[in-house]
Symmetry: C2
Subunit: 220 residues, 2 copies
Amino acid sequence: MSVSQLSQTVEEQPFFNVIQDRRSVRSYDPNVKISQEEMNEILQQAALAPSGANLQPWRFLVIDSQELKQKLYPIAFNQQQVIEASAVIAVLGDLEGYKLAEKIYGMAVDAGYMPAETAKSFVERYQGLFASMPPETVLQKVSIDGGLVSMQLMLVARAKGYDTVPMGGFDQAKFSEAFDIPERYAPIMLIAIGKAANPGHPTLRLPVEDIAYFNEMPKE
Amino acid sequence: MSVSQLSQTVEEQPFFNVIQDRRSVRSYDPNVKISQEEMNEILQQAALAPSGANLQPWRFLVIDSQELKQKLYPIAFNQQQVIEASAVIAVLGDLEGYKLAEKIYGMAVDAGYMPAETAKSFVERYQGLFASMPPETVLQKVSIDGGLVSMQLMLVARAKGYDTVPMGGFDQAKFSEAFDIPERYAPIMLIAIGKAANPGHPTLRLPVEDIAYFNEMPKE
């Protein structure tokens, strides 16, 4: 199958199949590599996700060297997928993401999407807003945005025939130290990605009446 | 078009169309209602998202009464979509989500997915882990999970022909007070949902080299 045929097949995956087929996979074929080009394509499509003020405060450290996966293994509590998956993507939140506001809104001006004056006032407003926010509020905001982009990343991967597993359980402080992550970036989650060697276990969800309420919260 | 035909059309939406067509929409047709049944279906599909330890700590308060949308309007900084959209969904994070571990893992045992002994040890482990976590860590975890489910919610909505806009900017404290949200639930984001009256503005994303790194973070 040529690359263009494969690509067309992928484009035609029905949306609801993708969300139903996505399942956390913990057993991977260790021989499968994902090229840097394809990984960039996955990340670019993931990054079509929305974010607060469109500041896109997500950064991705793709760990695909065998040596570094070994280094990550104990930090991620010896989970086998860290070694076997094609890569582990560390999703980081940029706590100073507002510093990119000028670039992002400048791109919108250059594309003719926004008058320069509007962009200037947005940039000033967001820079002021984010610079004066308490650190815990900034962390919560980048964590939410990190969740948004991570979900889209896992779905894009599935639509392209890959599997993933999100890992919230890892030692964030040790991770930042071992991988020289500047303080500016908060680790949000690790996502292992590759081709499943064994399917993920089925899991169940709470009935909708346990999670959805209309106009009023139930009394405790 | 009959409901079953519409439903089939929806099932066939290609995944990549959905992620490319999703755009933040701020102008809605105020005459469009979404039935409670359809809203529940959207939320159930959104909740197929993964979460830490599968604890599903998301709760949804669907605000679709006109009176309550008016009450929400100033709390969400007078954004017109609050009034015009069919509903605003408040995504909440359950800070005591571990209390549902027994129910969730019990369901897995009943379905034959897991031996009772394994379930019991998971439940004990997660209850111990979450109950001893610092509050800011719990908040970060439910914020990430809230981001995951919110992304899937917005995509499910788009695949069904609806539009959305995520709103991170609202007064969380006033919201919790006005809507009698128990302290156990942290507001994560508001999502307006409905049929677009006007398309969303196009927005741009940072080039992939600004967000993705391989094996090593760039020097500051």
